[in-house]
Assembly symmetry: C2
Homo-oligomer: 363 residues x 2
């Protein structure tokens, strides 16, 4: 009997796809645990001991809802970043905030522009809210800022989504280039700037001008701060944009322990600096390892390195061989990036183990 209760037209029409297969799913599928988890750019240096201590203490209050305003954290961010609290909203990670921005800005059928092969969760949300995507190919393994702006103009885009530093290439455009992109955008296009990896960037990002209505910056505690499992990130935007988010966001969506850990993590600059330096050393090690095996790598402004195996076939073979040895990495699915294998910078011990396995599987 067909059931009269029906999904929305939009949901009915959506394909059943999921942006990512998680390492846990790989483990279940393979029936054995992974040895090295280097595919999701989790920060294996972990959270700051101060953040861990704060979270441990806050567990005693886990029966209390978190503050829906994330007041203390927004206050801390405000002081750290020099923007007003009214310019900050906290969400359950950038994935959550991407959905919020898409929902707030894209009417059904409206257009968003992104690089072909860029972070797929943005695309997932655009499809999920019934808007449409225009793709611009990467150029020399970097976001092609001029072509992205041109596409935004041509397609009357409401959002241009750019990750900078970029995922999955690791590439970086400096502040001047992003400022030029902003100036090149048509008036109706919002720049959604995903800065998940910004703490690892080699030069300062575009200065924060929180009252600039042309751009929303997304940042997270998942990467440099090592708190991916806690699901907490934030957006910086002009205050009327934040006020619009307040009308639709999930007010009790952020975990109380995460709020407390993020605030403590923010204060521990020494630990953060150590992570950044440790990751920089790791990137160099990966480049040397690759070079010693005759493999190219892309320059990286993130906590991962894209190893360039030249062809999709070779990249696939290496990724499969790594997984067979219980090493989880990721391979971008779309040409021309599908000749890359993206490897998270692990701890020194993890890097030694990765080097051993990579040497063993590289022909």
């Amino acid at each position: 009997m067909p059931d009269a209760r029906s999904f929305t037209r939009l949901v009915t029409a959506l394909p059943a796809t999921v942006p990512f297969v998680a390492p846990e799913a790989l483990e279940r599928h393979r029936g054995e645990p992974l040895e090295l988890r280097l595919g999701a750019n989790e920060n294996t240096f972990g959270p700051s001991p101060q953040a861990l201590a704060a979270m441990r203490a806050e567990l005693e209050r886990s029966s209390w809802y978190g503050d829906p305003e994330s007041y203390d954290l927004r206050n801390g961010l405000s002081q750290r970043l020099g923007v007003a609290m009214e310019n900050i909203v906290v969400g359950a990670g950038i994935d959550d905030l991407l959905g919020l921005v898409v929902r707030a800005f894209l009417d059904v059928g409206e257009c968003a522009v992104t690089s072909l092969g860029a972070y797929p969760t943005f695309n997932y949300h655009v499809a999920g809210f019934g808007a449409r995507l225009e793709f611009v190919p990467y150029r020399d393994d970097r976001n092609d800022l001029e072509a992205l702006a041109e596409s935004a103009r041509r397609h009357d885009a409401r959002i241009l989504y750019v990750s900078n530093p970029d995922n999955p290439t690791g590439s970086w455009h400096d502040a001047q280039a992003i400022a030029a992109l902003l100036d090149a955008l048509p008036e109706q296009t919002l720049l959604l700037l995903d800065e998940a990896y910004v703490e690892f960037a080699p030069t300062p990002p575009l200065p924060l001008d929180a009252e600039d209505p042309r751009v929303i910056r997304l940042r997270t505690f998942s990467k440099a701060y090592g708190m991916a499992g806690m699901r907490i990130g934030y957006a910086i935007a002009e205050r009327s944009t934040i006020a619009a988010f307040e009308k639709i966001r999930l007010h009790f969506g952020v975990n109380r322990i995460a709020q407390s850990g993020a605030l403590a993590a923010l204060a521990d600059r020494t630990f953060l600096q150590g992570v950044i330096e440790g990751v920089a050393r790791g990137r160099e090690e990966y480049a040397e390892l690759a070079s010693s095996l005759g493999i190219a790598t892309l320059p990286s402004a993130t906590n991962f390195v894209a190893f360039d195996f030249g062809t999709p076939e070779r990249a696939r073979a290496v990724a499969d061989a790594l997984l067979a040895r219980r090493v989880f990495v990721r391979m971008p699915g779309v040409a021309p990036l599908n000749r890359l294998v993206r490897v998270t910078v692990g701890t020194p011990d993890e890097r030694r183990r990765f080097a051993r396995v990579l040497k063993a599987v590289t022909p």
Copy 2:
């Protein structure tokens, strides 16, 4: 200069309202901490020690994303509840799941029915997705199931939202009454059954028939399990409904520590039973306290008791006087429920302190 970047028509039209003022906001507004936090039905008995231990241990892996499938927890729930894993989705609390259901089932302009003065976050999501609400008054301080079904028929509703046990009245309809409601619903109406407080109910709920497409059950670790701050709950529904949720839900929205705590909490039946018994004693104490002061109370199937002050003026005066003595409680905003003051059952010590303050402020 007017900015050409524009919010969706829907977001532009939405009012700037927030379902709840949080206790933290009250503290900031008043400039002093609260003494007793009895307004959000948090479980002050706390989470199970086993859940706390599991969460403490899992903090060591907080740099790892949670499993987007919440596989282990769904597996545990499946075994506990006797429904298939394919009938379960895990979300960041019932608030999150309410949004998911509304988004999946309500096209713009479609109708949902709810009791007037019921849990407002459902209404928030319905408005947020551009659907419309029809309200049915409470009858004798209970959900009026017949009138709700009649309203669903009259307004061609796609969703009927009922909390059972109910918030804010604490009332309960037994399994037979809910079965009759299901049979009375028109074919196109889905029953969204919010069972946040079901563990406290005096009689068994409607048996789970996960393949019944007419109903979605929502449950949480926020109430009986004492983990409100962790933001984790689940929905039980027919598998094609769960599959539809998979197309739009935030796959990485649930905190890793919460997943691990929920699984451990589920296993600790002894602690849960103790909480349920402790809460039952507390409800009796509240009823006796009220009676000794000449105040009526409503029967409760939850972890709170609605004190009935007869008039909105008297209820408001008492709620204000309690707050002046730093006791946080809630008063439903809508007549005829606005003669009630809703007080969470606290620990024995909290109840003693509450009794002292209530006696002092009751004329």
